[in-house]
């Protein structure tokens, strides 16, 4: 059933790794099609990470209203997700998805 899933690389930075047991890099397997028949998109990934990888109960520090909370940059293969369609971007095998919490300290 290997063809029924796609493997992507997720990276967490800016402190978000704390929500994921200090893991900065995750190999994530997603179903090739989701319940609604389409490939998984970024918003699906966000929910999947909360359900299967997050080790912290404060889900609201990562997800809000079905997508990432404000103050988190999402990079699809090192480019801002707004260049790629934001939450609707459909994931391809080997995609590199980086979630970075913005920092304000100095």
């Amino acid at each position: 059933m290997a063809t029924d899933s796609i493997a992507i690389n997720v990276e967490l930075a800016g402190g978000l790794e704390i929500l994921f047991n200090n893991e900065r890099k995750l190999n994530v397997e997603l179903p090739a099609t989701t319940a609604n028949g389409s490939p998984p998109n970024i918003n699906y990934l966000v929910g999947h990470l909360c359900d299967h990888h997050m080790k912290d109960s404060r889900r609201e520090l990562f997800e809000l209203q079905g997508t990432v909370r404000p103050g988190i940059l999402v990079l699809i293969n090192d480019a801002d997700w707004e260049l790629e369609g934001e939450g609707e971007y459909e994931l391809k095998p080997k995609d590199q998805i980086l979630f970075v919490s913005t920092l304000h300290g100095g």
């Binding site: 930075a13 800016g14 402190g15 900065r24 609201e60 520090l61 909370r69 404000p70 103050g71 988190i72 940059l73 990079l75 090192d78 480019a79 801002d80 707004e82 260049l83 980086l98 970075v100 919490s101 913005t102 920092l103 304000h104 300290g105 100095g106």
Partner: protein
């Protein structure tokens, strides 16, 4: 006063020789640095190293605004302050150290808190601003003021073992502003300061040093523009493309905007990420912007409330 004649004396030639022999600097570049006025907002973990290298490089006028005093817990990372100066205002302490590195620049101390009411008049005398502060509300305020005044802004931040660096509103009117990059502020409960989250000294130090490099790049590009030559390190701007003789073969790509992110404990610590760019609906820098110098000065913009804190007439809360 962009055209005010400046020159270098023999001691300055000796002092700056090692950078003047670089093609990206040269005599023109060095004179441009001497002619430039740079404001550092914050004399802490970012501001200390950024100021040290800008002073070393021979910036003509260096202003620093901060209203904190030096505390023992600052010293592990704020390397321009000293044990002897604990309890002194940070702006006084840092300028003391900077003068020992380089007595040539004119140093201006602004020993008061930056607020929406005084931001415009504080920033307008400078050519370039460095945001070395530590809260979302000041970051939005500084960016708005820079957009209103047409000043490029070098912005960085650090927490724990992470850092971020971006050059905003550069060139003014073309590059994205802080609101373009972060249109919605983070929820207040997700924001940690260095005091709460901790920070490794050289992490914030590295970001501060990198800020000074970006500042020099912005200023040196001006020297190149004045000579109507393409900056060695930059793709052409829209205006330059219009101005330029069409001798060069090939097409000129539109400028891309990047952010540098650092994660010190990762085995691949640096990443350069490509940003979305200017936002058509930006409240500060787009044609439909609503933020004005007046709304800023009269205090009707409440940055604290915008960032989810308690509403307040001024920043910082007293």
């Amino acid at each position: 006063d962009e055209t005010k004649p400046v020159k270098l004396d023999l001691d300055e030639f000796r002092r700056y020789g090692r950078q003047m022999i670089m093609t990206e600097v040269g005599l023109d570049g060095q004179l441009q640095l001497k002619r430039s006025k740079v404001l550092l907002i914050g004399a802490g973990g970012l501001g200390c190293p950024a100021a040290a290298y800008l002073a070393g490089a021979g910036i003509g006028t260096i202003g620093i605004i901060d209203h904190d005093i030096v505390e023992p817990s600052n010293l592990h990372r704020q390397i321009m302050h000293t044990v002897d100066r604990v309890g002194q205002p940070k702006v006084i302490s840092i300028i003391e150290s900077l003068k020992q590195i380089n007595p040539y620049p004119k140093y201006i101390a602004h020993n008061y808190p930056l607020s929406p009411e005084n931001a415009i008049e504080t920033l307008e005398k400078y050519d370039l601003v460095l945001d070395c502060t530590d809260s979302p509300q000041t970051r939005y305020m500084i960016s708005d003021a820079c957009v209103l005044l047409g000043k490029p802004l070098v912005s960085a931040s650090a927490l724990r073992s992470d850092g971020q660096l971006v050059v905003l509103n550069d060139p003014p009117g073309e590059g994205p502003c802080y609101r373009c990059v972060f249109p919605r502020p983070p929820p207040a409960e997700s924001v940690l300061s260095c005091g709460e989250g901790g920070v490794l000294g050289p992490v914030v130090g590295a970001m501060g040093v990198l800020m000074s490099t970006e500042a020099l790049k912005v200023l040196l590009a001006r020297a190149d523009r004045k000579k109507r030559r393409k900056p060695a390190h930059l793709p052409a701007t829209a205006d330059e493309i219009k101005d330029a003789d069409s001798k060069e073969e090939g097409t000129v790509e539109p400028r891309k905007f990047y952010m540098t992110i650092y994660a010190a404990f990762s085995d691949t610590p640096f990443k350069t990420i490509r940003m979305f760019g200017k936002r058509k609906t930006c409240q500060a820098c787009s044609p439909v912007a609503t933020i004005t110098k007046e709304s800023m000065k009269n205090g009707s913009l409440d940055y604290i409330a915008f960032c989810g804190g308690q509403a307040s007439g001024r920043y910082p809360p007293l």
